[in-house]
Symmetry: D2
Subunit: 422 residues, 4 copies
């Protein structure tokens, strides 16, 4: 492929920015914070730092930079996540026992790989379109791990009895925002709509294959459900009434003795929650977050409404908020939590990933790509639900309406939330 210098420089500049951002996210951590894996879903920050680096080493430098020597023979084994096609790896549940390489050594590894990526990009080496696609994928992949890093850091610090703050200087989110009123409903008339992504920009395979869907009339909330609204559910005995719950949700409530949302505590009669600022009083106007699909669904049943399908959500977003508004709260705002709504922001973008009532399944004509990177998305298409819109931990340039995120219904450690349709 013949690409203009400026395109190449632009990629290189973005690559360095993305790589630096990962390190920026980890900068406030002590070495001890970067090792542990308190539950299987939470990976050690040290591992994220290594894994995102291994991704570039394995899929770019090794095959494409002439004469490149891997930084360490064992790192592929240590930092492969789930790519069966890329060989043996440390069992996921065992990541948290790997005290070595140390944080310092992994930062060395990062430096080494970033330098060689720069050498490769700026040097006289042939670059195919495919390689640019993989570099782009590597950056997007690293941005996804930046987001996971913030979930995991919150989990690690938030489960420590000392409740340390992540960054002393972070903004008190929402404080500067206006108070919130009743939600309005946005109306969409029945019809055939197109969903999915088509165009030159980056996108994942799972959102390809634009296709038509028929959707009935619906009305969708113009903002996210708040902490205050969820509190009403808690106080109405929502966690004690089986009628609102899916059977698996009710079993989950019983098994884990759930009687309040994740990260909430009642301290001396007063509600508090864990944030990346430490343990704080709850500001009830903030969007609700750290909520499982089971809880979101129970709340919807209690209200006599529903979660939107992924298509309802995408159509509403395309209709009412096709462009990302300035006010959207992404990781760059450094609130590290959802923020109160401001006028005119429907909160489709940022703040929290919104649960939909759609299972994560392949689009018509979807085919996973050949080779190891074909394992990226397709093999997860069972028993997970689609989430839309990005969160306060997502980079602004990482999201679009067709983006399909997916998680198992019981998960609470990510910045997820929801809105309702009727």
């Amino acid at each position: 492929m013949l690409v203009s210098t400026s395109f190449q420089q632009q990629i290189q500049e973005r690559l360095n920015r993305v790589r630096k951002q990962t390190e920026y996210i980890c900068a406030p951590l002590k070495p001890e914070d970067t090792v542990v894996q308190p539950v299987v879903d939470v990976s050690p920050p040290k591992w994220h730092l290594g894994h995102t680096t291994w991704f570039f080493e394995a899929f770019i430098l090794e095959p494409s930079l002439p004469g490149y020597q891997v930084f360490h023979q064992k790192y592929a084994y240590l930092f492969n996540s789930y790519y069966e096609g890329a060989g043996e790896r440390v069992e996921r549940a065992y990541r948290g026992n790997m005290t070595r390489p140390s944080l310092e050594e992994i930062l060395e590894y990062r430096k080494h790989v970033t330098q060689h990526l720069n050498e490769y990009l700026s040097g006289p080496y042939p670059k195919t379109e495919e390689i640019y696609r993989v570099i782009e994928l590597g950056m997007q992949h690293e941005q996804q791990h930046q987001e996971l890093l913030l979930y995991d850091i919150k989990y690690i610090l938030g489960h420590n009895p000392l409740f340390p703050a992540y960054r002393e200087e972070i903004l008190a989110n929402g404080k500067i925002r206006e108070a919130i009123g009743e939600a309005d409903f946005l109306k969409v008339d029945a019809g055939i709509f197109e969903v999915g992504y088509e165009g030159p920009g980056f996108h994942f395979d799972n959102e390809e294959c634009v296709h038509k869907v028929y959707v009935e009339d619906f009305e969708i909330m113009d903002r996210l459900i708040t902490h205050g609204e969820f509190l009403e559910f808690v106080e109405a005995g929502g966690y004690e009434d089986y009628r609102f719950w899916l059977m698996e949700g009710w079993a989950w409530v019983k098994e884990h003795k759930k009687d309040m949302p994740f990260y909430w505590f009642k301290v001396d009669g007063k509600w508090k929650h864990v944030t990346l600022h430490g343990l704080q009083d709850i500001d009830w106007d903030l969007p609700m977050t750290h909520i499982s699909y089971y809880e979101a669904n129970a709340f919807a049943n209690w209200k006599g409404m529903r979660l939107p399908t992924e298509f309802q959500w995408e159509i509403a977003c395309n209709t009412f908020s096709p462009e990302i508004p300035e006010a959207a709260n992404f990781v760059e705002s450094e609130y590290y939590g959802p923020a109160k709504r401001t006028a005119g922001n429907y909160q489709f973008y940022g703040d929290v990933w919104e649960w939909t009532q759609s299972a994560y399944l392949p689009y018509p004509r979807y085919k996973a790509p050949e080779g190891t990177l074909g394992e990226y998305n397709g093999k997860f298409m069972v028993n997970q639900m689609v989430l839309k819109g990005g969160s306060c931990a997502t980079p602004r340039d990482h999201i679009r309406p067709s983006y399909r995120n997916f998680f198992h219904p019981h998960l609470q450690w990510l910045f997820n939330g929801f809105r309702l349709v009727k």
Copy 2:
């Protein structure tokens, strides 16, 4: 409701027929066979006999037959399945330890309840439309348990090292059927279709709310995948190649060391499988069955095709086989296993429940009914997949194209199977 005598007699006649059929299914069992629960999904036959009886006692006789005394105070506790609204119950996993009431006592219980149902139906008691609806539901419910009974009996006998036959006299299924050729594909053009049920006949809440869907062009196999076709997958190393599998499916293969289908054995180099006739040589032309969603999906990936969505399946069925053909293989044929296809039978009905690539989720406008019976369907709508068309264990009058069955993706003990689309 004013109903004609003939309607009432008809219900009564059907009710007695359904009740008798359950007992007919259990007749070949020894008392010992009716007690155990070898895995949590398999309920003791004794329990099915009691549970289907309790359903009528709790939802018809107790509220509606004046002066009715429950047969035994503790039976509600013993025979409630999952109705939170109907009080405490024996933990599901503990059913298999309940040696009492004995089979004989439960048959007494059945007799008692059936007699009182007859008394109620033929007697001078007021009957609302709602009550007829619940009686109808009770019959459909009992038919569902008849089907489960056959799965469970097969499991119990099929895991015994003596491999006892269920009925000595059952027909060697398929023997009388013609050999099978290559599958053809039936074509459907893209467009808007209606799916779901609307009409006066019985149907479950989950298939209500007829609605439009847009479906792209597709071609669907005109018959089921056979044992012989699946053997090719096995022999091509399908169970050893992660590339064909969903990640959860691959984990399931690894955890359970799966290397062949359920109920298959290789005895002295020759493939055999467990049937309700005992351990038999495999007839390769029979439709494949006892296959998890993971396996069906892996097979489809290996073939470069897909499982149909529930809408593709329903549209194809409505298009090519709107009526149930005479040749369809239901429980009344007493083959107790899938049968070879005969000319002109597309096998949409009977033989095996067909996996679709659709998660079990609510239709637009779906609302679970109020009250305890609202727990019938809605609360299962997460992490399960839709299956269509009925099986060799289904009563013929129990099925229709809009029927939505649902099971977790790993389950193999039911008569399930699949066909492909491209």
Copy 3:
């Protein structure tokens, strides 16, 4: 070996008596009761019936009766317990799923084997001393299973919400006995004592090798701890105070939420317990039973005393009650539970197996016999505690002071109890 006819007849007579007793124990059961295994320690009665029969078939008839054909090729697989040397077997935890052979078929099997044993014993076949030893072992083994049968039957019926009685006609134990006063203590002076068995009578390998032990002065209770005494511990908050408990015992209390003894219930403010008569009011003068080592040990700590070592117990028994008193309560009394003490009976024999503070370890010079039957005792010598004296489920001719029974410390389903030393 040249044995007198009378010896041979005596063995034969005893053998038939023992075989019949096992069937007598199972006679009140329904076929359903004989199948299940509600917890791993509880074997199905049907299995005991088969296993004790297989023992004679495998170790006597097969090797020694010319021309003997095994009753069924698969029964060795179904009825071997833990003899690695005797080939493959059904996993212990899976016994409860084996609905076939039916109870009736197993009774046929018993008849077949007993008949052939009689043929062998009375026929002109050579019999070595070793063979008589194995026949004796087979009878003792069957008596041990008779005892287990009663534990298991109690567990199966006692965990059924209908609380069926085992035999309608059984005696209300203890009713005819006198009231019980304070326990006295029997004194033994320090010295060297001999323990273990030496002599011509039957005994297990684990009690062989008479050896000297030095024991300090001690005083031992002249009767068993009663339900009433244990109630004081319960009411004093014994289950809530970690100080009395071994660390593993405390973890067991917490994990299983223990707050009262096994088989006890508080029904409308009144204590009841499960017996083989069904659910009954507790008679506080009865010896305490169904008590784990952890509980017995906690009780002792609470009292500031100790459980006896196995040597203290054996020395006291040899000293104060060398012969089994008439009043001792064994299975032949058909109380099926411990009985109140009568004057002069120190309760060393029968009623309940008494926990000692001795781990089950080999005696000096102990060597497990060669061959499959060497697996009988020796391989259990770790992590179990010794119990002494027999129980209300033990045959009177099965016990002696040197008998060493052994169980894991958490087990409660057997008839165990204890007394204290100071």
Copy 4:
């Protein structure tokens, strides 16, 4: 208590030495190494550092130093191990998730507490005999944790695919030692012996109450079993032959698929093992270590011998090696592994803790002390086996013949080994 200044100075000097030694042991670690808990038995080094410090703070400074303020309110919660009497604590299995306080903060905590202990000891504060006893206990306790630290560090580094060495400068143990010949057996004649501790020196409660035991004639090996001897067992198929194993041992072999000793690897056909020097070739003359009771017992059965009882071991040690020989290999030698025997050293002291065939049970007249420190030993007296003699990780001044260490039979991560008797 009136104590001489020199006694006080001596205690103070020893205290500082012990405290410093703990820090010396941790000095080579990176902060990352100090956080994790790969299995429940392995505690994070950071936790050991904090726990041994909390012990002095809770049991000395808080009750006895006027005006003492705890370093941090939450540290009692974080660093209590199992003392129910000392309040709530982090669940043991969750220790490894506590990334804060950081290593640096814990070292601060140590400094703070050590300083105040010095202030207390050298200052004008009253000191009772009891307080000196607790200080002594605190030092012994810290020495026990020093030993655990080395086990845990070995586990953490030894399970890392990079196999880092603990200290670069450590001596290659055994290299300077002479080759080893056949073991001889030391003979002891039957008789009454005294065991246990009586005297003014420090000792634990569990070894108090000197008492007589009668022991038969025995012969005991004059050295430890070596790696080479154990290899013969491995090569003779010891891990595949059930006959040598206790039933629980055989279940452990099967469940964990054991086919070689812990820390052994076969790399390209050559045996290697993990040491604190990293992965090394095995020197076959070194004493065998990291061996469970099950394995030691199976080896003994294979040899037709036995493990000694704790009394046999103690009597032999008192008879043949009443004083600790110069050559004994303790932590001060800095080999960090067992060493080859030198002439005249019977290896009763140091190298490896020797499994005995004695369960850990109370001595006659044993009573756990009142109060929280009564939880030190007594509550572990079930399901563990006694080990004797100290190891290469034990401080030389910490051991005596009467010392009773105890562990569960399956544990392999400590420096344990064995010798045989016949």
